[in-house]
């Protein structure tokens, strides 16, 4: 019985790591200009965007404020991704941040915070 549990655990371990590397599907990469100002903004955007449908990779460069996103073309598109960023509280290219979400950001993450 004890050994079954152990094997079960290992099986879950192995299978889940296999499943996480899903089959390659058609992906595209896009770079979006954001209003991120600090390491915390980077964390927020990367964490929240990771759970958007179709997103395969997110990387925000604080130097340029650009976020590059790898996504599955079948599941999402650039407009949806930009909108998702505004809903976190940040500008995305020409789109303004969602006002409610922006209000909820900590003071250091707001656009008018001095560059830091």
């Amino acid at each position: 019985m004890k050994h079954y549990k152990m094997i079960l655990i290992l099986a879950v371990f192995i299978s889940s790591s296999v499943f996480s590397q899903e089959k390659e599907r058609k992906t595209a990469e896009i770079t979006i200009m954001t209003s991120a100002v600090c390491g915390m903004c980077k964390d927020r955007i990367e964490h929240d965007m990771a759970f958007e449908k179709g997103v395969k990779d997110v990387n925000l460069d604080l130097k340029t404020k650009e976020v590059s996103i790898v996504y599955q073309t079948k599941k999402t598109d650039p407009d949806k991704l930009r909108e998702a960023i505004t809903e976190i509280g940040y500008d995305a290219d020409d789109l303004e941040a969602d006002a409610k979400a922006y209000e909820k950001l900590p003071a250091c993450c707001k656009k008018d915070a001095p560059p830091h």
Partner: protein, 741 residues
């Protein structure tokens, strides 16, 4: 900012104003945001290139000048006590920068890569300190402070007996009572809380833990001998608005935690924490008719408040209430019935504990690094317990007060902290028909001088004098020295003294769960020891990634110690003051490396040589593993959706006191085997949810027959204190975390 006074703050000092226009320098200003969004220059903030020891501190006007790093474009880390570290990207052609630190900043530790390392050794602390972040704490999701060191090579955790479920930590191979456990730099879990205290700190309440080895700063008292464990709880001004955690394991142990933080206005914030745990199923896997883990019911509430005027005044206070019931012993024992041998052997421990604390700090304008702080703590602890036919009740009232003033001499390279303290301990203990009481009243004075050469070295010299109403006046000298041999090589050394008053019964309650005759031969004297340490940390570039290698050696020499002698006879336990030598040598080597992308590996090995004069011979201290090895693997998938953690602990053999004067069937070997413990956990992260599934002790390793004479608990051979390995076997658990930020 209150933390300022009580943690080992030191600044790199002010840099001379060099206005180099060349590309090799970066200059900038660090601001604090005032209440009206005005910029207040922040003096004394540390600024350094991530992953290096190249750093400086801001001057009076918040400015700094820093050499460019030769290895290219590293993030710049800004840290200031009381603020979260901030990490800033600086482009190669940038010559100046403005940085704003904010109290509301909810950054987790130093964010360098995609995935911040869960644990790391501080590069700037003059005392060798290992940081365990909340990310690391989540790798071992169960349940409280006693389980928080699974991935830490320096701290061992073991059961003290087979019936009460109490767990003890060991640092440098010596019992947890010789290290100082603190809650946000206030001494806690001492006195009566020594035995069960680790279970009073729920894992999800903690923000981080700092483990320092060797002698500590004199600011927090004379008690620390082998090191310090400091726990930081979540803070009202930067924690989740709502956090809920649930946990269940295969023994039907259920735990629930929640916390909520509310910002009342710009200055006030408050936070409420709750914890319940319940284990109500009697489980006896090893078939000795004793429950493997005691039944536990615990309720725990904590409310804390913070005031910060963003200028001169910072204050915090809080209250904690805890109630715990533990029931152990034989499976057929019924607590509600008469406690006679016919009812079987039972153990019951009821604890009521109340804590209150306050901290207030005033920061002087116009003079950097100058402040005054006042810390108060009150603890009431009541324990009512029985172990078979032994009754033990105890009550403790403790007050701790500390008033500190910190400033600099000449320039900020010379920092001085001085203060006065007062500790009161009032104990009343009742063991069967005997009553003991002790009142301790200890005023003290201390001073600590820090000399810093920016980027090069730090020297910490501390001295305190305490005036004890029972043990008289004694002095505690302590020294720490840190030297950056190169940019990537840090050398540290320390030496110092520590003292403590033994609580003979309270910290050895395991001897009550035996039939041994307890004989206290001497009036207890203060325990007293010297500790010396050497530590070298080296960072290597290996295939473009950093390998951190840490080597340390610590020696503890007891001048006096309370010896618990289980060697003289298996039928007795003798308690007396050390007559002869007692020492510990601890050698450790540890390496950390990101083996492949997002796979962090830690490997460590420690050798313990702990010996003391027991029964007139120098013997190895019983139940201390000769060595310990540790390997941890931690892998996160891209985007951190899945997290896999695996830990393997290799525990060396330990000495078991002789049981040769018992009948053959009640004898144990004189040495325990070496054994391995495997733990693993899988975590799935969602936007607001995390769920985890894990296992402890996956190979189901158990000490066989942990209780001597379990078939005759009221006979003269019964002994449940001879514990060298795990009492309970494999544990499978699952749980969730839900957070709204």
């Amino acid at each position: 900012m209150l933390v300022l006074m009580i943690s080992y703050t030191y600044t790199f000092g002010q840099h001379e104003e060099h206005h180099h226009e060349d590309e090799g320098h970066l200059h900038g200003v660090v601001y604090d945001m005032g209440p009206n969004s005005e910029k207040i220059p922040l003096p004394g903030a540390n600024v350094y290139w991530a992953g290096t020891t190249i750093g400086t501190a801001t001057g009076k006007d918040g400015t700094f000048h820093l050499d460019r790093h030769e290895h290219g474009n590293l993030p710049l880390v800004v840290s200031f006590v009381g603020f979260k570290n901030d990490t800033v990207m600086v482009s190669e052609d940038q010559k100046s920068i403005e940085i704003e630190l904010n109290m509301n900043n909810t950054l987790k530790e130093v964010v360098i890569a995609n995935k911040a390392p869960g644990g790391f050794i501080s590069r700037i602390d003059p005392i060798q300190t290992f940081h365990i972040t909340s990310a690391e704490l989540e790798k071992a999701a169960c349940c409280n402070l006693s389980e928080s060191f699974q991935t830490n090579a320096s701290v061992d955790v073991s059961y003290s007996d087979a019936v009460s479920g109490a767990k003890q930590i060991r640092l440098l191979g010596l019992a947890g009572k010789y290290s100082q456990i603190q809650m946000e730099n206030i001494p806690n879990l001492r006195g009566l809380a020594n035995t069960y205290g680790l279970g009073y700190v729920p894992g999800p309440w903690m923000e981080s833990i700092q483990v320092s080895k060797g002698t500590a700063s004199v600011k927090n008292g004379y008690e620390s001998i082998t090191g310090q464990v400091n726990v930081e709880y979540k803070k009202p001004d930067d924690s989740e608005k709502l956090y809920i955690n649930g946990y269940v394991n295969n023994d039907a142990r259920v735990e629930g935690n929640f916390n909520t933080a509310i910002k009342l206005n710009d200055k006030w914030s408050t936070m409420l924490f709750g914890h319940v745990e319940n284990l109500s199923r009697k489980i006896d896997h090893n078939g000795d008719d004793f429950i493997d883990n005691p039944l536990v019911k615990q309720y725990h509430v904590f409310n804390r408040w913070k005031y910060d005027d963003h200028k001169n005044v910072h204050a915090q206070f809080g209250f904690k209430v805890l109630q715990e019931d533990r029931q152990g012993g034989q499976v057929n024992y019924i607590d509600s019935e008469l406690r006679v041998p016919d009812n079987g052997y039972g153990i019951g421990i009821r604890t009521d504990r109340f804590e209150a604390f306050s901290k207030a700090a005033y920061i002087f304008d116009g003079r950097p690094g100058t402040n005054i702080a006042f810390i108060n703590s009150f603890i009431h602890h009541f324990q009512k317990s029985y172990f078979g036919l032994n009754n033990y009740d105890a009550r403790e009232n403790n007050y701790y007060g500390n008033l500190m003033f910190q400033t600099y001499l000449g320039n900020t390279n010379h920092q001085l902290t001085s203060g006065i303290s007062y500790v009161m301990d009032n104990y009343e203990e009742y063991l069967n028909d005997s009553a003991f009481s002790r009142k301790e009243s200890v005023p003290g004075v201390f001073s600590e001088y820090t000399f810093t050469l920016p980027d090069k070295m730090t020297l910490l010299l501390g001295l305190r004098a305490d005036f004890h109403n029972i043990y008289g006046t004694f002095f505690t000298p302590r020294l720490h020295f840190k030297y950056n041999l190169t940019e990537k090589t840090i050398f540290r050394t320390s030496a110092g003294k520590g003292y403590r008053t033994p609580n003979v019964i309270a910290e050895n309650t395991y001897i009550l769960a035996t039939s041994r005759n307890i004989r206290i031969l001497d009036d207890p004297e203060m325990e007293e020891a010297w500790n010396y340490g050497l530590n070298l940390t080296q960072y290597f570039d290996v295939y473009g990634k950093e390998l951190a290698l840490n080597v340390d050696y610590y020696r503890t020499d007891f001048v006096n110690q309370m010896i618990i002698d289980r060697d003289f006879s298996a039928r007795e336990v003798l308690i007396y003051n050390l007559d002869g030598k007692s020492f510990s040598n601890s050698y450790q080597v540890e390496a950390q490396y990101e083996l492949i992308e997002r796979l962090d590996v830690t490997a460590a090995f420690r050798y313990n040589d702990v010996r003391m004069t027991i029964d007139e011979n120098i013997r190895r201290q019983p139940f201390v593993n000769r060595y310990k090895g540790l390997v941890t693997l931690s892998y996160a998938t891209n985007l951190n959706k899945w997290q896999f953690d695996f830990t393997s602990q290799f525990n060396g053999d330990s000495r078991i006191p002789s049981t040769n004067d018992n009948p053959v069937e009640y004898q144990m070997k004189t040495s325990s085997p070496a054994y391995t413990i495997l733990n693993a956990q899988i975590t799935r992260n969602f936007k607001k949810w995390e769920i985890y599934l894990g296992g402890e002790n996956l190979t189901n390793y158990r000490q066989e027959d942990p209780i001597i004479a379990s078939d005759d608990p009221f006979g003269k051979y019964f002994d449940s204190s001879m514990i060298w390995g795990p009492v309970s076997g494999i544990k499978i658990y699952a749980g969730f975390r839900f957070a709204i930020n």
